[in-house]
């Protein structure tokens, strides 16, 4: 029993180490082929559209509802202690530092990570990736690099959008439900947030963009065993990148406190 469990655990750890090593190797290949000619900027543009523009609706809904819920929760909680006036400050800060970056990234991990992993996975299964190599072209250059770059470009921008919409959503609730003055709320939100709060939040999304795209490309490229493999690769990509985002967020927050005070 214990022996079985320990071999199972050992196997898990081994396959985790294997995946980690593979992802690191993929990242190295990405760096190597990033500036290799031709640059294929049109492929990057295409992906920015898929990753960025097509995710705007999702980010909009996520941000506005998160902002509204947070304003409501803090408002109802703090009202009892007469702390209603602090709500705009608290909500704006938590959106910009944490909620905006993390929720945008999680939504993108689900939408884009799954899309990338299943698309690349099906290309593997139908031998299209092999065909690219057989035709003397690099799938890393044509498939992986544009998708990683697109996530790197789109995620911070989506986060900027998400932050703004989240704060607007929270202001709406502060005005309607808590009876605060809109100008007051807006002023508090804007004056509380420092540039450093804002930028550390955005800097996190750069890391998260790598977590999402490298993980998704890795699991997609390593699909084994037909269509079923595509399904499990997609699940793995979303689960692993979400966990990386949540765990990574803690360490990044800690590191930023140490680095930037």
């Amino acid at each position: 029993m214990i022996r079985n469990a320990s071999t199972a655990l050992g196997g898990r750890i081994l396959s985790f180490a294997h995946a980690l090593g593979g992802a690191v190797l993929l990242f190295r290949q990405f760096l190597r082929e990033l500036f290799a000619r031709p640059l294929l900027l049109n492929l990057v543009g295409e992906q920015v559209y898929f990753v960025g523009v097509r995710s705007m609706g999702l980010v909009f809904i996520t941000a506005v509802s998160t902002g509204m819920v947070m304003a409501l929760q803090f408002g109802l909680g703090l009202e009892k202690f007469g702390g209603k006036l602090y709500v705009p400050k608290i909500v704006a800060l938590s959106i910009v530092r944490e909620m905006g970056p993390v929720f945008c990234s999680l939504m993108l991990a689900a939408r884009v990570g799954a899309g990338i992993a299943s698309e690349i996975g099906s290309m593997v299964v139908t031998q299209q990736i092999d065909a690219m190599r057989a035709l003397g072209t690099s799938p890393i250059k044509r498939i992986v690099v544009p998708r990683i770059l697109a996530c790197l470009i789109a995620l911070p921008l989506l986060c900027v959008l998400g932050n703004a919409i989240g704060i607007l959503g929270s202001i709406a609730i502060e005005v309607w439900e808590l009876g605060l003055d809109p100008i007051f709320c807006f002023e508090k939100a804007v004056t509380t947030i420092t540039l450093r709060d804002y930028l550390t939040g955005l800097l996190k999304t750069v890391f998260f963009a790598f977590f999402i795209s490298v993980t998704a490309c890795y699991f997609g490229l390593n699909v084994k065993g037909g269509t079923q493999g595509v399904g499990s690769a997609t699940t793995m990509a979303v689960v692993v990148s979400s966990v990386l985002i949540l765990v990574g967020d803690f360490f990044l927050t800690k590191a930023f406190f140490v680095l930037f005070g």
């Binding site: 092999d130 065909a131 035709l135």
Partner: protein, 245 residues
């Protein structure tokens, strides 16, 4: 005749499964070698290894004297421009039209203008009886058409060596004949090729020599006449009749 392709004691294993134990053969310039063998005996793996899609576990694979087994992915690009691999199922890019599929190798490896690319593709489509299908997506083509587009895409860079992986499997007699004609036409242009197939009439029609792959080795290799001169119990006839070795 110069040897263009040479397998020397090639070995390949997947996990615990030893697919190739000791495969050695040579293909000469301008020759078409038929490669026959039961399903799953490793014919596709031989072709894939030849262009570096799989790495050998032992032995050497030489293409015009260069060992492809030890080449890096970037060194292999030059080999892959010379050696076309016609995939068993076409392996078309399903997010691109037929035209874009054919344009892909041209855009990647030549400096042709859009005009020239269009002319080249239309000529190629005509040669394969595919006119008017430029803007069709691969998913909307019949299986036989997908195979022909795959073949057209593989050879659009005018390679010196072509590896056919069952190009006639699942085709009707008319299309089979067209593919045979195509292969013979390429042969007259001096193309060296390996033709993997289960389709005996096609093999006899286009191949100069035939190799039988069994149990991870080349069991026999020779011309049709050489096989037949060994009497009715020669390995090729036994394979064709479906008999146990």
């Amino acid at each position: 005749m110069a040897a263009v392709i040479e397998f020397q004691n090639f070995q390949k294993r997947f996990g615990s499964k030893q697919v190739h134990r000791d495969v050695s053969f040579t293909v000469h310039e301008g020759e078409c070698l038929g490669l026959l063998g039961g399903s799953g005996c490793g014919k596709s793996v031989i072709l894939r290894s030849l262009i570096g899609l799989e790495k050998p576990d032992g032995g050497r694979i030489l293409v015009e004297g260069q060992d492809v087994g030890t080449m890096s992915e970037s060194e292999l690009v030059e080999i892959r421009k010379k050696v076309a691999y016609v995939f068993q199922n076409g392996a078309l890019f399903d997010s691109m039209t037929v035209f874009e599929n054919l344009a892909y190798p041209l855009r990647a490896h030549t400096n042709l203008s859009e005009e020239e690319i269009r002319a080249r593709i239309h000529a190629q489509l005509a040669e394969f009886d595919l006119e008017g299908n430029d803007h069709v997506m691969p998913a909307n083509l019949s299986g036989g058409m997908q195979k022909r587009v795959g073949l057209a895409r593989s050879i659009i860079l005018q390679p010196k060596i072509v590896l056919y992986d069952e190009p006639t499997a699942g085709l009707d007699p008319y299309n089979t004949l067209r593919i045979q004609e195509m292969i013979l036409r390429l042969k007259t242009r001096g193309v060296t090729s390996i033709f993997v197939t289960h389709d005996m009439p096609s093999a006899f029609a286009v191949c100069d020599r035939i190799a039988l792959l069994r149990n991870g080795r080349i069991e026999a290799i020779g011309t049709r006449e050489e096989f037949e001169s060994q009497g009715p119990d020669n390995p090729l006839s036994r394979f064709v009749r479906g008999e146990e070795p």
